[in-house]
Amino acid sequence: MPTINRQFAKYSFVLLAGIILALIFGCTNDHPQSPFDAVGPVSESQALIFYIISYAGIVVFVIVMALLAYFTFKYRKRSENEGDPEQIHGNSTFEIAWTVIPALLLIAVAVPTINSLWDTTVSPEPDALVVRVTGNQWWFRFDIPELGVVTANELHIPVGEVINIELDSKDVIHSFWVPKLAGKVDMIPNNENTMWFQSNEEGIFYGQCAEFCGESHALMRFKVVVESRKEFDAWVASQLLDAIKPSDPLSQQGHDLFMSSEAGCYACHTIRGSQKAYGEVGPELTHFASRLHMLSGIMDNTHENLISWLTDPDEVKPGNIMSKNASVYNDPDKVLSDPEITALAAYLRSLK
Amino acid sequence: MAEATASNHESEHQTTTGLNHRKILMWVFLGSDCMFFATLIATYLVYKGKSLSGPMPLDVFSIPVTTVSTFVLLMSSMSMVLAYAALRKGSLKGYRTWILSTVILGSTFLGFQTFEFYEFANHHVHIDCINPVDLTDYEQGLFDKNCKDGVDHYDAQHGLTPKTNLFGTTFFVLTGLHGTHVTIGVIWLMSLFLYSFKKGGVTPERHLDTDLAALYWHFVDVVWIVIFAVVYLFGVFEGFPS
């Protein structure tokens, strides 16, 4: 029986080791939310600390496990009539050693950690561009006050510049996290936070709310578009324009519906340049069609996706305020017809 | 409560420390109850001065009244300890007298608290617009808002309830839970008083029953000593001392 067990143990350890190795080599850093693929000073500093403590941890783990494995093998009971071993009660030298050595090791890793903590928390350029981010169930509002830009779920920033972020929430606690740019900081009502980051590479970086915030927490995502200063300036200029007026009958019909009291979209959404759409409950839509993604970054901004959203928002993002509060969704008598939805979509898709 | 009254008539076994089980239990419970009140007091302090609207402590507190009720509670502690001393001496009559005094004093304290809560909830503001004297910040705010030309006084109900502001919330829940402790104590002592009429119910040999109630009662008293200083007297400061 013991041999069976030992063989079983051996195989299982081989299996386990195989899995661990597969994991380590299989874990790539080109996934969209991997913080290892750091592109800015904040995430780089955090990744460095992670590497330091990981390697220290692996070394400690290997030593401890080697000791454990050696002892279990060496001191296994060899025969049934083996006598009692020496009753050793302790050894002060050993015990002092494994108190002092870990303490020194911890001090050694504490220094760079605290250093990195201050670097990553305190902005090096307090006067740099400020972006105000407001959390809502379940989308992000972005304001750049000094440029007058307001947008939702898709933030553009210039490459190579420090960005200061101010975080706030309108309802529950959310958390702002773009793994490749910086670790997360919570967005708490009545308790504003700040953070900073900088991207040294152009590209589109994924972000996600990291604090559980209710039913559709999993669907609260966003994108950060990092572009050259020139592209950024162009983007700002385009965002500052008023919304395009509808140019074809279908989008005109959608526009009228949007502004009508039957649909009531205008009450919650802003479309600058329109007569009455200045609601702030839902995301800003002035340049909706200029965004790559829709619905807090969970899907591409396409006609089909927009249709499915407008048809049954609760299916796409369960529990959202629009399907709860808008009469066209909570009152069966006022449901939008398919042509109406098509017209609305056409109008929204025209808002470049 | 249930913890504290557990197995009243534990027979006096020989114990490791030579101390009685129930008395150790009581002290562990009191140590634990310290954390209970610490959390409430911490909540009160953390929110001190953070209320967005009045009334603030100085608008509603009446230090003389609370001083009297504090005095009543301190006296109840004295009568409690005298009841215990009387029992140890074997004077059942003295015991009954003093423990009844404690019950009465404790109930008086609760009466004061009820009165205070009622007064706060129905707080009345009167501002003489022509000749305003000694306005608190809160009253000044009301003055600025309401005393326009031709108005010679302003009267209104500005009650403080647990819903009014952070001060109301933290104040009522802290003092209310203290009041709950006092109520439990009064019921406990009342039970002992009644039990003392049963033959053999309260005897010098079984002084521990009273000792435990007394420890609880004094603890409630010391908590009030802290509340009186921290909640009422620190009330002079509207906010943080910074």
Partner: protein, 608 residues
């Protein structure tokens, strides 16, 4: 009035069958009740976990709705922590503490029964939220303001609040009891520094508990008042700071983590010496390390809040205090390993669990230090890396220790031996299964997967590892079923167990298995740590214990009582009253008062 009631309800002096269990105040029976109830809860929590894993097994899976998913992870956490691990530890406390310190029962036997029944009440209240259609859904730490009526209508959170309050009463009552028992019921000669390690860890756990639970009690009262009476504790528009809830929760929550793990550490500290045939290496160091861990548990709570924006100064302070906890934890691990040094090790199932515990707990400990690094923690907080960490500590640590303890003391509980072969297979299945389940979580976490999401899209690259985790969880399920099979079968028809099947070291092994109702015929006199080992080996020399006269006739055991149960029923009814209707709560209060009064005036033993 109540004095009139007592003669009307006859004391259950010689009950049999079911009434025997309902009115029992025997610590051993209560321990078994605790164990059985808690293990059922463990299975319920396991079912919840499996549903979670099923939903996450692939990207964009659509097995359960987001709302149910949120209820599942909330209830999974709450169940495993408050209804499974804590009461499983309590089962060991109940059964073993009097046996280990040489006592006939706990200090307050009726209070002990009360604890159990109140725990059962809390269990039913929490689980019944599923039946009432509104399980709590804000996570086990339920951050305000997501818990306010505005964002969380319905009764789910009310069930959570009331359930936790009721469980708090049970835990507090039990802990008061064990503190007094350990201080005051030790056999002659058993000084503090001769107590078995498990008793020591129980003592420290109980002290932590009585100091930590009042904090959550107040926090829950505040939350309840916010929800029910419109107070402003966590209401941001009135100027409140929702971060206060987080502070209060974690002031309780971090000591709670040690409340969960310290008993398991105690169990492992009993198993390792027994199967190495050596005393625990550095007995007093291990105790001291446990005490330091418990004390430091109060200095580190904000490490759960590194991303809350407390500022660099608090974060630096809590980084350092948290890292410092690694030192006493490391001391324990090295002392355990060196207990085996130069020993004579037998690899019975409990020993495999103890060794497995060291392996997985070390992983959890190291990932804990990784979390202490507040800088890089910003990338780990609220991701699956955290989920991996605390499952290594709570499953790989606490549950592994508890499984080891269940095997180790099974002969004592049941008087039967379990099947070693099944036990070993079960151990390896569990060990491998849990590593396959939880180890990849480190990687998906560091690949940016937040916790508490019910779905994720395929482009994230998390699908393969999640599928692997789910397959690992199936191994865990199989192994738990195997464990149940082994236990049930062995209890019915296992080989009869001798008093001391493992050649163990502490006093509980000096009596028969299962122990007689009165535990010790003669209260033993203690001369040393590992008293039973010293007696067996004749190490006490001249002082060798006298067999003593048979005092059996003089043993007075406390008699059973109805009143703890009645008081608990009052709390149970009162609990539902607080959720649904205050008049009912008053009825519950009255019933409880009747119970408490009758209990107070009922003598421990009716005069003969």
């Amino acid at each position: 009035m109540t004095t009139l009631l007592i003669p009307m309800i006859k004391r259950p002096l010689h009950p049999t069958g079911i009434w025997n269990w309902i009115t029992t105040i025997d610590h051993k029976k209560i321990g078994l009740l605790y164990g059985a109830t808690a293990f059922i809860n463990f299975l319920i929590g396991g079912i919840e976990a499996i549903l979670i894993r099923a939903q996450l097994s692939g990207s964009n899976a659509d097995i359960i709705t987001p709302e149910v998913y949120n209820q599942l992870f909330t209830m999974h956490g709450t169940t495993m922590i408050f209804l499974a691990i804590m009461p499983l530890s309590a089962a060991f406390f109940n059964y073993l503490i009097p046996l280990q310190i040489g006592a006939r029962d706990v200090a307050f036997p009726r209070l002990n029964a009360f604890s159990y029944w109140v725990f059962l009440a809390g269990t039913i209240i929490l689980h019944s939220s599923w039946l009432f259609g509104s399980a709590p859904n804000s996570g086990w730490f339920s951050y305000a303001p997501l818990t306010s009526v505005a964002y969380n209508p319905g009764h789910g959170m009310d069930f959570w609040i009331v359930g936790l309050q009721v469980l708090g009463i049970a835990s507090l009552a039990a802990s008061f009891n064990f503190i007094v028992t350990i201080i005051n019921m030790r056999a002659p000669g058993m000084t503090l520094m001769r107590m078995p390690l498990f008793t020591w860890m129980t003592f420290i756990t109980a002290i932590l508990l009585v100091l930590a639970f009042p904090v959550i009690t107040v926090a829950l009262i505040e939350l309840m008042f916010d929800r029910s009476f419109g107070t402003n504790f966590f209401f941001a528009p009135a100027g409140a700071d929702p971060v206060l809830w987080q502070h209060l929760f974690w002031v309780f929550g971090h000591p709670e983590v040690y409340i969960l793990i310290l008993p398991a550490m105690g169990i492992v500290s009993e198993i390792l010496p027994t199967f190495s045939k050596k005393p625990l290496f550095g007995y007093s160091t291990v105790i001291l390390a446990g005490a330091i861990i418990a004390f430091m548990g109060w200095l580190v709570w904000s490490h759960h809040m590194f991303t809350v924006g407390l500022g660099p100064i608090p974060n630096s302070v809590f980084t350092i205090t948290t890292m410092a906890i690694a030192i006493p934890t490391g001391i324990k691990i090295f002392n355990w390993i060196f207990t085996m040094w130069k020993g004579s090790i037998t690899f019975s199932t409990p020993m495999l669990y103890a060794i497995g515990f060291i392996v997985t707990f070390t992983i959890g400990g190291i990932s804990g230090v990784m979390h202490a690094m507040s800088s890089s923690d910003a990338q780990q907080q609220d991701t699956y890396f955290v989920v991996a960490h605390f499952h290594y500590v709570l499953f790989g640590g606490a549950m592994m220790g508890i499984f080891g303890g269940l095997y180790y003391w099974f002969p004592k509980f049941s008087g039967r031996m379990f099947s070693e072969k099944l036990g070993k297979v079960q151990f390896f299945l569990l060990f491998i299964g849990q590593n396959i389940t939880f180890f990849p979580m480190h990687f998906v976490g560091m690949d940016g997967m937040p916790r508490r999401i019910y779905t994720y899209s395929g482009e994230m690259g998390w699908t393969a590892l999640n599928a692997l985790e789910t397959s690992g969880s199936i191994l865990v399920v199989i192994s738990v079923l195997l464990f149940l099979h082994n236990i049930v079968k062995s209890w019915r028809s296992g080989e009869e167990a001798p008093g001391d099947p493992w050649d163990a070291r502490t006093l509980e092994w000096s009596i028969s298995s299962p122990p007689p109702e009165y535990n010790f015929e003669v209260i033993p006199e203690v001369h040393t740590v590992d008293e039973w080992w010293a007696r067996k080996r004749g190490l006490l020399g001249e002082q060798s214990p006298s067999v003593g006269s048979n005092e059996k006739g003089e043993i007075h055991l406390p008699q059973p009582s109805f009143w703890p149960l009645v008081s608990a029923i009052g709390i149970f009814i009162g609990g539902y009253g607080l959720i649904y209707s205050y008049p009912v709560a008053i009825v519950g209060l009255v019933i409880m008062m009747v119970g408490v009064y009758s209990w107070s005036f009922e003598p421990v033993n009716d005069p003969d």
